[in-house]
Symmetry: D3
Subunit: 192 residues, 6 copies
């Protein structure tokens, strides 16, 4: 039993290279605390920079037909399949906030077939889970089904890329035992 | 998207047979609301009575070396393996309360290897998950390992029986789409 | 190699509480011997009572569209998936007798697609096996397919509940190494 | 529901080439009936001849430390993993006869960990099942464990080859729906 | 790290029984080297003879609608599922030669859905992989789909039998660590 | 059957943003051709930049105890588990060149237990495959085993990160049907 946030060394914020320190302080300003992933991955500055550049390209993207809540649904559902504690807890919290829904994160993490989501969102998660667990079998039938729900090719790229990127994140978090901040567990659980 | 608590008819409390009505009212008195499992399974009175008799024999038992929190850990961890939304959410809530720990339920549901639990509890959950997913392979090595953590044969029966009983519950909940009460999602999440 | 009927203590019939002793003697009277499950589970009287109350509610039920033989088919097929020696052998024997068919139990235990059963029974077993192995994925398509074979919602509850209940039984039998009575292996194998 | 013994054409015994007809008549003489595998595979004479040459090389072999009953245990246990009705039923019958044991075939087919066999036989079946399901992972640790039970390299080849050969047989039987003769179900079930 | 071609004794060509020596010398004459399978399996002459008789019945067959390249596709794709180094490398080489295609073997070994093959060939490999991994589930729907691509019952037997036979070969190669000849790795990789 | 290199639009090199064009031309200069991944991922410039920044941080790293060939072994072995044609073929080629070994890539892709690699490399691949397929179960036993082969914590991070990163790459390649350049299939197959 440990409350270390990583099995690996975690740098002090003040010891970070300037660009990374600024990024960390900015997220602290916005969230009120520093999500542990910003500290644990800072152990490897070049990987940190690439990780968050990739993350931001997918999650802060302002084009396409996936809402911010839907992107977080994908993260939460697929991270649960990879049994990644950090991502299920942290992104479940963000999902609750974006969706303004106190229940949906736990629903999607346990079984999206029982979640209060639309058939379009359920099809999106079916596909994300297939990319997560069995990407070798993706084929034109999957594309056609997603088209029938109004997704276009760029949306499908987004679903796949978010799933693939967080599959990377899930594996790193599992290997280094990345611990979610306590704050995430409660965040977004009371309606505002 | 639906908020029905079961795919099957749900009886009114006042229409229940007297013994069942008393049980339901007693739990309502204690919990402040009626957990949906008491209403959804009431569709079949004889099965309802057997279900709760079995449940109480295992979960209200006052002998043995499993704490109430540990029994709920078993339920939460194995229900997650069976992707049962009702049991993960409802018993996760009860686990938080019994363990007086706001984090442990989500930890155990996603990956017990990353949870703030003791090595003894981790061995207990390893075994429960084996009973849940691969009971055919249980053998003397499993018993020996549990003995080394201080569990005796009766404790091992308890771990197995709780796992087996909630495996029944998980399958019924999945088939009838039993919905957890909204109250459970927030319960026990703030320390008292 | 052992011929003990359980890894746990087995009470003497004469030491059982009166209600349990009566139940055991009644089954002995009817079957000509005491099936071991009545002795092995008697180690825990409250669980014994709940177990058989549940069992009887599902298996002695006189309403609905599942024949007694069909209920035993469900038990035999799903117990084989759980690799439960006791239930495959004991319920396979009962299946042979109810179905008046010396072959069907082994067929259903090994591969129900090759069994001498009706398409309706095959669909029933497809669903039972899904509930047994992957209940999280049960959805409206499964219900619709069963409706097309003449099953109604109550029948579907029966199929699921029998599967779920014997999943409990299978796990207990595997953990305690419950041994089937020798009598079961031969029972019903010669046409009458 | 059908009682055809194969999904493919089955030749008449009298239409078989002389060498095959002699082989079939010899087994009929010995067993009292013609096991269906001799008729169903006769659809392809060259494959029939190679199949039985291979079969006989492995199963009629008189050297090595595997008894005839042990070879049939391997067939029964691995055919159950491949869900092959023909082989489980036919070779289970032969196992009962060779082992002079009315129970062991069903035990080994459902879960060899619960069977009345020796630790040496259990290790043999562990290995056979690994070859059946996960041959890619076989390594020196497997060899060492088998040596510790008294098996030598030639015995290990035998275990692997019997498993591999009946894996072929299982797949053919499943694809052509080869039906076991009714006689096999009862054979060897009463002690003599 | 070893370059032995088998974990078991390998006979000298000159010590082989006459019929086997002739067969080995003939293949050496044709291929320019002796594929290791002819030496490693010669450790057991009777099994060797049956193995190659079966092999030739399936792979040298001149009737039916499967081309030689298609038969090798089946071997390559299913041997990859069984993680058999010898067969993937050796039969991949033969596939390149028969198909006069330098890319198709690696494509089919890794993911036939991304290979430069026809829809008919893709359906053939879907079925072969099902026979390889899940033969218990083969049913009339599989037959109907193959008919729709122009395969007849005899072709389906061929696909199944080739898959089943090389499943035997894969398991033996994995257990005895059969090493592919270096020559196979490069063979057929440059267009002629 | 198609020879498109991606299911998505592929930009012309001359239309790429300057930084990306320079990167692509540099790799073309060095390799003699443009590996398709540089073109297919260029469809999304920001993701492209993050992808290659991550790639270079892991694969061009000059510290630590993993050789370049060992890093490519990890990519090849885990990409095979994810059935990613592009990465198995392209990184198999690079592996052959770095290892100056014409056989090792195919060996590692099919079954690393049969490859001409050291026990240390085999342990490295065991761990990489666990991170690839079952990262939730990684624990201190895995670390201890790797330490015993001379790997330190930073090496373990490298193994995990390479596996995780190419897991992302594999999923994208599978979803967009990224086609390996023909050049890769033959590269490094003849000793120099």
């Amino acid at each position: 039993m440990t409350t270390a946030i990583s099995r690996f060394p975690v740098p002090e914020i003040n010891d970070l290279p300037e660009d990374m320190r600024e990024k960390v302080l900015a997220v602290q300003e916005k969230a009120g605390f520093v999500p542990n992933v910003f500290l644990t991955l800072a152990h490897r500055p070049d990987e940190f920079r690439a990780f968050f550049a990739y993350h931001d390209a997918l999650m802060l993207k302002t084009t396409g037909n996936l809402s911010k809540a839907e992107r977080e649904m994908i993260v939460t559902a697929t991270s649960a399949k990879n049994n990644c504690l950090y991502c299920v807890v942290a992104h479940g919290a963000i999902l609750r906030i974006y969706a303004k829904n106190t229940l949906v994160a736990d629903q999607v993490a346990v079984n999206h077939l029982k979640a209060d989501i639309t058939p379009r969102q359920s099809a999106m998660l079916d596909f994300a889970i297939k990319v997560c667990l069995d990407s070798q079998s993706v084929n034109e039938t999957d594309y056609a089904l997603l088209y029938s729900h109004g997704f276009d090719d760029e949306d499908i790229w987004d679903i796949a890329a978010i799933t693939a990127f967080f599959g990377l994140s899930n594996r790193m978090a599992n290997v280094i035992s990345m611990r979610p901040n306590d704050e995430f567990f409660l965040m977004g659980r009371t309606p505002r």
